[in-house]
């Protein structure tokens, strides 16, 4: 973390992934600041599906981040003209899909964005929303995860994890190395809500939740409100670079999570879970993959938010309204 030099409030903010629920909320929160001149919301969905508020300072742009030219034109066209100085990137692919296109959206687009931002005339700050799933969870590692915890670089990690780790490390590797551009990476706990790409939410949407017999690890989940607030604080934390864990206000065992969701909890021998959930995924088209979650379905993994509290002034305030996704 660097010391904060003098920094003025942002003039304009560009939100990539504004059509996601957290993105739309962030746009709304940012517009509450009357001093902010422009909010550029960028998404792939049509405007009517983006759920954005009406405000003369808000403009919506449909841009496919997997294509470099439109991204370039957006940054060096409208964004430059509006004097946008902060960019928030929340546009990772949410579904548990795989393939080149997903990788381009998750990793390559960030590479372009970093490269373009460095030579952009007005951008001064980039906030990247990363995920707690980048951390490795296994025996022998601390249950309370600080920012220096090992990341999951295992060879058999699914693309969903690999892409997130690669994007996160890409952003971290450029931190402090880019002249005139500040980088802040927020490793957010899982937002337990629909349409957030939450593996746990998909898991809890099944009427019967299987878990590994004999293991009941502690989990930490985040609400949309707290995720939005953390991003907003990062937008305004000018002069501050760094990597911050963003935990939620709910820390609870997996069994309690299942019970509060009103689901039937069935412990089964651990080795059966992967084939059962893989079969469910293929047969029902669901998102939950046991391979992604094997570690945290056995060992406790709770984010330590000390650095975010000290650096950003972030403190989780909102508990999940159980059952989630109402």
């Amino acid at each position: 973390m660097n010391e904060r030099p003098e920094w003025r409030s942002p003039r304009g903010v560009l939100v990539l992934g504004a059509s996601t629920p957290v993105g739309a909320r962030l746009c709304r929160r940012l517009l509450e600041d009357r001093a902010l001149r422009a909010v550029m919301a960028v998404g792939l969905e049509p405007l009517e599906r983006a759920g954005l508020p009406e405000d003369p300072r808000l403009s919506y742009h449909r841009v496919d981040l997997t294509r470099a030219r439109p991204v370039h034109d957006l940054l060096f066209g409208t964004a430059r003209d509006l004097g946008v100085d902060v960019m928030v990137h929340l546009a990772l692919h949410r579904a548990n899909d795989f393939g080149d296109r997903v990788h381009v959206q998750n990793v390559e687009s960030l590479r372009w964005l970093l490269s373009l931002s460095e030579r952009h005339p007005t951008l001064r700050r980039l906030v990247f929303r990363s995920h707690a799933e980048v951390y490795r969870v296994e025996r022998g590692l601390p249950s309370l995860i600080t920012e220096d915890h090992p990341v999951d670089l295992s060879a058999d990690a699914p693309q969903w994890v690999r892409d997130r780790v690669e994007a996160d490390l890409l952003a971290c590797s450029r931190m402090g190395m880019m002249s005139g551009l500040e980088l802040t990476v927020l490793r957010c706990a899982e937002v337990l809500a629909p349409n957030e790409g939450s593996q746990l939410h998909d898991y809890l949407s099944a009427p019967v939740c299987l878990r590994s017999a004999g293991f009941d690890p502690m989990l930490n989940v985040l609400t949309r409100e707290d995720a939005t607030e953390a991003l907003r604080l990062a937008v305004y934390a000018g002069g501050l670079q760094g990597l911050f864990n963003i935990p939620g206000a709910d820390t609870l065992p997996l069994s309690t999570c299942i019970r509060l969701s009103g689901r039937l909890e069935v412990p089964v021998p651990g080795p059966l879970l992967a084939p059962i959930y893989e079969a469910r995924r293929w047969l029902q088209g669901t998102q939950f993959s046991y391979r992604i979650n094997r570690g945290r379905f056995h060992f406790a993994a709770v984010l330590d938010g000390t650095q975010a509290r000290q650096g950003l002034g972030y403190e989780p305030q909102h508990r999940v309204d159980w059952p989630p996704g109402r």
Binding site: G140, L141, G262, R263, A300
Partner: protein, 285 residues
């Protein structure tokens, strides 16, 4: 149908908790009088939860009182608040020594010792969950650092597995100490209370051990008796050692300093063990 079953499961869970609260009212009240950092939903971030801990306490209290008939000496040396480390000798095939110290400190000192388990323990089904609910944490540097920063009392056995598996003929001869506890004590300026445990070495003499490759356990012990023998435990708490005296926290990076501090603790524990052996009248008395 599954919704109905889920509701039934939830109701049964609530009823179970209510019955458990009534059955173990006394240990539960005792544990509730010990403050802990509730991270929401009644658990701390490591999974400690008073009701489950009360169940453990109620079972272990019986062992403590009637089976091992524990006699403790020097409990006034255990700090009643602030970060500290209890460091003891480890033996006996199964970790009843840790359980007896845990029970003893809760009952006598009204503090919850956070026992630090070896790295393989969190991967043992059921055991890991039961331990976590009772306040045990996996032995990683990050976990113990977080607990000391939170002002908790740690219970550490620096001999680790080599201590608990040592042959009967080598009883009460301490194995080499790992030095992590000394480093932590210096870095966090926390006192170390040496603990000499007498009795554990005779509770379950080991006749063999089977190496297992497919499990997270380092081996499967084959004890002489299926149950621990009703030996009498004598737990001696020594005067706190301030390993950090005259040192700065950054001196914890000096291997020589840390090794010396660890040896100091080992000698203090060995002295307490020797004293305990001298004072006891017999293995079962």
């Amino acid at each position: 149908m599954s919704v109905g079953l889920a509701m039934l499961q939830s109701l049964l869970g609530r009823a179970r908790r209510r019955v458990a609260s009534a059955l173990w009212a006394e240990p539960l009240e005792h544990l509730r009088s010990i403050p802990f950092r509730d991270a929401g939903h009644g658990y701390d971030v490591f999974g400690y939860e008073p009701l489950h801990a009360a169940l453990s306490l109620s079972l272990l209290e019986r062992l403590h009182r009637y089976w091992f008939r524990v006699q403790s000496h020097g409990t006034e040396h255990v700090p009643r608040q602030g970060p500290a480390l209890l460091v003891g000798n480890h033996a006996g095939t199964l970790p009843f020594d840790a359980m007896m110290v845990w029970t003893d400190v809760i009952l006598q000192c009204r503090r919850l010792p956070r026992a630090v388990a070896d790295y393989f323990v969190p991967s043992l089904p059921y055991v890991s969950t039961m331990y976590a609910r009772s306040g045990v944490v996996g032995g990683s540097a990050g976990n113990v650092r977080a607990l000391l920063e939170a002002g908790e009392l740690l219970l550490i056995f620096p001999e680790g597995v080599p201590g608990i598996v040592k042959p009967f003929r080598e009883r009460y001869r301490l194995r080499e100490f790992r030095v992590g506890h000394a480093e932590l004590a210096i870095r966090h300026q926390a006192p170390v209370v040496p603990v000499g445990i007498v009795g554990a070495e005779e509770q379950m003499p080991q006749v063999a051990r089977l190496p297992v490759r497919m499990s997270s356990l380092p081996y499967v012990p084959i004890p002489l008796t299926p149950l621990p023998l009703p030996v009498r435990y004598h737990i001696h708490y020594g005067e706190p050692l301030c390993l950090h005296e005259g040192l700065r926290p950054e001196d914890a990076d000096d291997p020589e300093v840390v090794h010396r501090a660890s040896e100091r603790v080992r000698h203090a524990v060995q002295a307490l063990v020797d004293k305990g052996l001298r004072l006891r009248k017999g293995v079962f008395r």
